[in-house]
Each structure stands twice: as structure tokens, then as C-alpha cells.
């Protein structure tokens, strides 16, 4: 069997649909959390009440100039974004609402360079991948309605190339991030991590840790993070190291979320991708039990 055939087989191997369902529920909520601070100031954010850099005519810092929206339109966009995210999380027209949410995310990422970060740029792709899969087929309003209409019982296992994509995304990010760190200061300076703890991202947790942990411990953590990130493709590919890689990655993001103020939403999104993509099957047992219980309920067309 050629490598490409193996890849094709891996891509189309049946996987639990519940993994995608978990992503469909949690990812929009994490992204919405990140956007919440912006949404409550929609007219300042993408509307004409706020400051916006002028059209710089192709300046390298401005990927595309989009003029600020009239305030009414900015608020309408905020409402569409919020509603589509909540609908997707609730499994109501999950695929369509996921696509609408992805479109609004892509728009705001470009419209306001100033408030755009990693979450802004990766979330449209995450939502697109979720919407292209069988989102909402097992849990949520769509699944409930399908049962009421006497539709077929949803498959538990399906070929899910979009889930494969969402599995690979964090691994690719770690790998690239590790190489970028190695090319940057992480192999030259022993306290790169420590230097990041003193600015406006600082939380009570990061301050307490910076104040009490010995200096060498930051070097140890720096080395561990670098080794994890550079080797991430290997750690997640090998069955022997996969569980440890999952635990390390979730722990790393939990610490990032606790130690770097507003980065908590990025941390939650990455934890969501990790759990949905790489979480041990046991983690999904309660969700599977819930889905099965819902699926066993009498249908509208069945005699009660």
C-alpha cells in the first residue's frame, strides 16, 4: 500500500461523530468568549464610532482596507455573529449557522486589524471545518428534530476528514511555533518565559508564580515547552506518547490561560481542539450516553 493510500485510508477512517459534536458545541462558545469584549463595543470595533487606520493603499500592515461600517450595520453584524454562534452551539441549523459564523469571523478579522489576534485568524477556518462535517447530527436541536420527523438514526462512526483537519491543526501550530521559538531566543536565553510575565497580560497567578518559583524552574519549563512543540508531530503520531502529549498540551494551555489574562480564550479554543481531536475515548462516554439516551426516546411517528 502506498503512502498516499495510507493517508487516504487514515483520512477516511470512521471516527466518532461525537468528537465533532463536542467541537461544534465548545468551539463557537470559546470563540464567542474571545469576541465578547469586542461585541459589546461593536460600533467602536468595526463601526464608524471607533478609530480605524485610513486606507494605506497596500501598506504591508494592512492586508485589506475595509471602511468602517455605519453603527447600525456594526450592531447588526454583532447580532448575526452572536446568534449564529449560539445556534451552532445549540445544534440549530448547525451547519448553516456555522458557515454564517465563519463568514462573520473572517470579515471582522480583516475589517479590524487592531483587534485581530490568533483566535481571530484561525477561528473562521475552525468553524468552516466544523460546518463541513456532520455537525448537529447526533446532539442538539437538528438531531432532535430529525428524530421527531422519524429520520434515520444518526451514525455513531463516520469518515470525518474535517475532524482529521482539526486534529492536525494544533499539531501543526505547535510544530511551527516550536521551530519559530528555536530560531528565536528560546535556545539562546534561559529565561524567555520569565521575561513574558511582567507586562499587562500579567495575572495574579503569573505574578505569584514569578514571585515564588525559583529562576531555574522557568528554564526547565521553557525546555519542556520547546521539546513538546518541536516534537509535537511525533508525540501525537506515536500511540505510546499520544496520551502524555495530550495531557501536557492541555496543561500547557491551562497555564497559559491562567497566566496571560486575555489569552484565556485562545487557551480554551486550543483545549477544545485537543479534547475534540485527541481526547481519550473515556472522556466521551458521558456524551455518548447522553446521545444514546436521546436517540432511544420515542419518535413522533412511533406509537407511544
Amino acid at each position: 500500500m502506498s503512502a498516499l493510500s495510507k493517508l487516504d485510508e487514515w483520512l477516511h477512517e470512521p471516527l466518532p461523530v461525537l468528537r465533532l459534536e463536542l467541537l461544534r458545541i465548545a468551539a463557537p462558545l470559546a470563540i464567542l468568549g474571545f469576541m465578547s469584549g469586542r461585541l459589546i463595543h461593536a460600533d467602536e470595533w468595526v463601526g464608524d464610532h471607533g478609530f480605524h487606520a485610513p486606507d494605506l493603499g497596500g501598506d504591508y500592515r494592512q492586508p485589506l482596507y475595509i471602511p468602517p461600517l455605519p453603527s447600525t450595520l456594526a450592531w447588526a453584524l454583532a447580532m448575526v455573529m452572536t446568534l449564529s454562534a449560539l445556534m451552532c452551539a445549540a445544534g440549530f441549523k448547525a451547519r448553516q449557522s456555522g458557515l454564517v459564523f465563519a463568514a462573520t469571523l473572517a470579515f471582522v478579522a480583516v475589517a479590524d486589524r487592531l483587534a485581530a489576534f490568533t483566535v481571530s485568524k484561525m477561528s473562521p477556518v475552525v468553524m468552516l471545518a466544523i460546518a463541513l462535517g456532520p455537525a448537529g447530527s447526533r446532539i442538539g436541536f437538528d438531531a432532535w428534530r430529525e428524530r421527531r420527523l422519524g429520520g434515520k438514526r444518526a451514525k455513531q462512526l463516520r469518515a470525518l476528514p474535517s475532524l482529521r483537519f482539526l486534529q492536525l491543526l494544533p499539531v501543526v501550530i505547535y510544530s511551527a511555533s516550536g521551530v519559530a521559538k528555536a530560531r528565536g531566543d528560546w535556545l539562546k536565553m534561559p529565561r524567555v518565559l520569565w521575561t513574558q510575565l511582567h507586562d499587562t497580560y500579567q495575572t495574579a497567578v503569573s505574578f505569584a508564580l514569578a514571585a515564588h518559583l525559583p529562576g531555574w524552574s522557568w528554564t526547565v519549563m521553557q525546555a519542556l515547552v520547546l521539546a513538546f512543540e518541536i516534537g509535537a508531530p511525533l508525540w501525537f503520531a506515536l500511540p505510546q506518547t499520544r496520551r502524555a502529549a495530550f495531557v501536557f498540551a492541555v496543561g500547557m494551555h491551562a497555564m497559559i490561560g491562567l497566566m496571560f489574562g486575555p489569552v484565556v480564550w485562545f487557551a480554551l479554543l486550543m483545549i477544545t481542539l485537543l479534547v475534540g481531536g485527541w481526547g481519550p475515548p473515556a472522556l466521551f462516554a458521558p456524551l455518548e450516553a447522553l446521545a444514546e439516551r436521546l436517540e432511544r426516546r420515542p419518535r413522533a411517528t412511533e406509537p407511544s
Binding site: S2, L7, R61, A115, T118, S162, S177, K181, R183, R191
Partner: protein, 230 residues
């Protein structure tokens, strides 16, 4: 027909397009993250922008950087600190604030600095009572001066203090780097001066009308278009 092509039959054109897009996206994220020049060479700016997600915290922080602004009080003919959070309410207390981001990306871009100048002066005139900016509500504002504070990191193993926002006056001149100030002529026009304003006392050696020296103006970040924070 080769195996993979045979395998892809029945997946539909949409599935194949999705696979190709997904593979290219992941390859692009990786290449851009590791610093390859390939994505920048083959992609327009907008798709490239969406790939810039992976190179996070590659460098050690050298200073703690905070951007601040002052307003030129026409009547008093002096600079006074102006709280930009009144005009940039998103994420007011951290470096994700949009004023901090304007300065991070565009501090060396004159059109943007002029637009910022107009925005803050007009904002103060329109409603500083509703959005307190630290200046007297009725005070006529002639212009702005924006700068960074470059605060030294604490020494390793030295006692630490929590990061807090202090008034500008509590920071020595040596940690300030001025990037832009409203030209003298513009301030005179806005203030209605008949003659050029007097040299302000207490300004960091920057008399109105004189451009900042090279040593007073920080260079743009080498990665000005990229985010290295998540």
C-alpha cells in the same frame, strides 16, 4: 489509475477540494510559522494574513512596553496626560487595547498618526464629559503627543511588584520614547494662536516644531505586520 485517485473517487469534487484546501492551509501555517519566505512569495497579503497564527512568543521581552498619550492644552500651553482608554474602550487595561495596537503596528506611519490625532482631538471636543479622558471637559485640545514607555524588566531573583498603570508623571523621561506629536502649526490653528505656541515646560526636550531626534524615536518593530502574541 493510481491508488489514491481511485480512493478519492466517490468522495466528490467538494471532498477533494476540501482535502486540497486543508492540506495547503496546514502547509501554509507551518511554513509561515517557521519563517519560510515561500508563503509570502506566492500568496497575496490577505490569505497570508490568515496563515500568520503560529509564531507565538519567539523572542524574549526586553522591556515592558506601554503606549501613552498627552494632549496639548491650548489655554495653558502645555502637555498633559490624556487617558486614551476613553476613546479605545475595548480591552482597556492590557496590550490588546486598540490604542496599544495602533501604536504597535502604525507608530511610524504618518497618515495613521495624523488620523489618530484627528480622532482624539475630535473625540475630546465632542464629549469628554461623557468619556472622561483625564483632561478638563471644557479644555480646548490643540493636539496630541504619543509615546511608548519602555520599562525595564525586574532583575532575576529580585523582589517583584505587580504590574500596574501609573500616571505618566511617575515615569522618568529616560523611559519615554516619543513617536508623534501634532505639528506646531496645526496646534496653533486649532488653538487659535496668533503666534506660535511657547515652548512647553517639562516636555522631554521636544520643543514644538522640532522633529524628534532619531534617538528619541523608536524604530518600527522588525515584525510589524505579524502578531507574536496569541
Amino acid at each position: 489509475m493510481t491508488e489514491p485517485l481511485r480512493a478519492s473517487r466517490g468522495r466528490g469534487i467538494g471532498g477533494i477540494v476540501g482535502l486540497v484546501f486543508g492540506a495547503l492551509y496546514l502547509a501554509g501555517v507551518w511554513l509561515e510559522g517557521v519563517g519560510s519566505s515561500i508563503p509570502g512569495a506566492v500568496l497575496p497579503r490577505m490569505p497570508l494574513y490568515f496563515l500568520q497564527i503560529a509564531a507565538l512568543f519567539p523572542h524574549a521581552a526586553v522591556n515592558v512596553i506601554d503606549y501613552r498619550a498627552e494632549g496639548w492644552l491650548c489655554q495653558e500651553r502645555r502637555w498633559q496626560e490624556l487617558d486614551t482608554r476613553a476613546y479605545f474602550p475595548l480591552d482597556p487595561d492590557d496590550k490588546e487595547n486598540r490604542f496599544q495596537r495602533v501604536m504597535h503596528f502604525f507608530r511610524d506611519n504618518r497618515p495613521t498618526m495624523h488620523a489618530l490625532d484627528e480622532y482624539i482631538v475630535a473625540g475630546h471636543a465632542a464629549g469628554s464629559a461623557a468619556r472622561p479622558d483625564g483632561l478638563a471637559a471644557g479644555a480646548l485640545l490643540g493636539g496630541i503627543r504619543v509615546m511608548s514607555l519602555r520599562l525595564p524588566l525586574p532583575a532575576p531573583d529580585a523582589p517583584l511588584a505587580r504590574m500596574e498603570r501609573k500616571p505618566l508623571s511617575e515615569y522618568p523621561e529616560t523611559v519615554r520614547k516619543i513617536f508623534y506629536y501634532t505639528p506646531t502649526s496645526k496646534r496653533a490653528e486649532r488653538c487659535g494662536y496668533r503666534e506660535p505656541p511657547k515652548t512647553p515646560d517639562g516636555s522631554p526636550g521636544l520643543a514644538p516644531g522640532r522633529s524628534p531626534r532619531a534617538s528619541e524615536v523608536s524604530p518600527p518593530a522588525s515584525d510589524g505586520a505579524r502578531d507574536t502574541i496569541p
